[in-house]
């Protein structure tokens, strides 16, 4: 399990152990990875984050066009595993979770423990510090630091 910010680890750890999720990815609404459990490759992780964010974005757009409230979660049910994709608001802005689970658990359990994790994240989030300006010179260094934090390399 890896996270860019340490306060995310405990709620995510609790969620993973209680829900028996195989893979979990937390990202910002723009697809920037915040924390992950179970992914082994940077490429898989970045692709999953980009696709997850795109799915949430397109489904929100469908809801907007139909004049419906935005869908909060989506479930892709497969024969041996399923994907649960949901957005939620945190003190750090809107985040998205992508959870992959198998037959060792069920959708209801994933949903119940997911809601618990959202509450725990809201409680654990430190008070927001003012956003610092991102300079091009810092970008590559920060990107490498993020990848090291997420994969330990």
């Amino acid at each position: 399990m890896r996270a860019l910010e340490p306060w995310v680890i405990r709620p995510l750890q609790d969620f993973v152990s209680e829900s028996s999720a195989r893979l979990t990815l937390l990202m910002t609404a723009s697809g920037q990875v915040v924390a992950q459990h179970g992914f082994t490759g940077a490429l898989d992780l970045m692709s999953a984050a980009a696709l997850g964010a795109a799915i949430i974005s397109s489904s929100s757009e469908i809801a907007r066009v139909m004049d419906w409230p935005p869908f909060r979660n989506l479930v892709h049910q497969g024969q041996r595993q399923a994907h649960y994709l949901a957005w939620f608001d945190t003190p750090r802005g809107r985040w998205i979770a992508l959870v992959v689970f198998g037959t060792e658990t069920n959708l209801g359990l994933v949903q119940v423990f997911f809601e618990q994790m959202v509450e725990e994240l809201a409680a654990a989030a430190p008070v927001e510090s003012p956003p610092k300006e991102v300079l091009a010179v810092d970008f590559e260094r920060e990107l490498n630091a993020s990848l090291r934090a997420l994969f330990g390399r």
Binding site: N106, L107, G108, L109, Q111, V112
Partner: protein, 116 residues
């Protein structure tokens, strides 16, 4: 076969000591229909009941007992009763202490039969 699951739960929830009943999707652990007393966490109960039923049905089959027909989890303050009604649906009843468990069981099996 009955499709009005809400009506199916009525005879169960009228029994003394029954705090609620639900029809739950067996694979997903998601509530299909419920009749629960205020304050009961239906979503969590449904998810945990389905997870429990799935393991017990698996255990029962592996032990060559055949598929489980009725599951009773009795605790100090009440009981959780489960009937795998169909392959997809689970009938769940929550009771308090000192309830007529035999009658509740009978009503659950009758309700499950109507779901088939």
């Amino acid at each position: 076969m009955i499709r009005d699951y809400k009506a199916l739960l009525e005879p169960l929830t009228r029994l003394r000591g029954v705090r609620g009943a639900m029809v739950v999707a067996a694979d997903d652990g998601v509530v299909v229909v419920d009749a629960l007393m205020d304050g009961m966490k239906g979503k969590a109960l449904a998810a945990l009941a389905a997870a429990l039923a799935s393991r017990i049905v698996d255990l029962s089959t592996r032990a060559s007992f055949g598929s489980a027909r009725f599951i009773q989890l009795q605790a100090a303050e009440g009981s959780l009763l489960l009937v795998p009604a169909t392959e997809q649906l689970l009938l769940v009843t929550v009771t308090g202490r000192d309830v007529p468990l035999g009658l509740t069981r009978l009503e659950m099996l009758k309700a499950a039969e109507r779901m088939r």
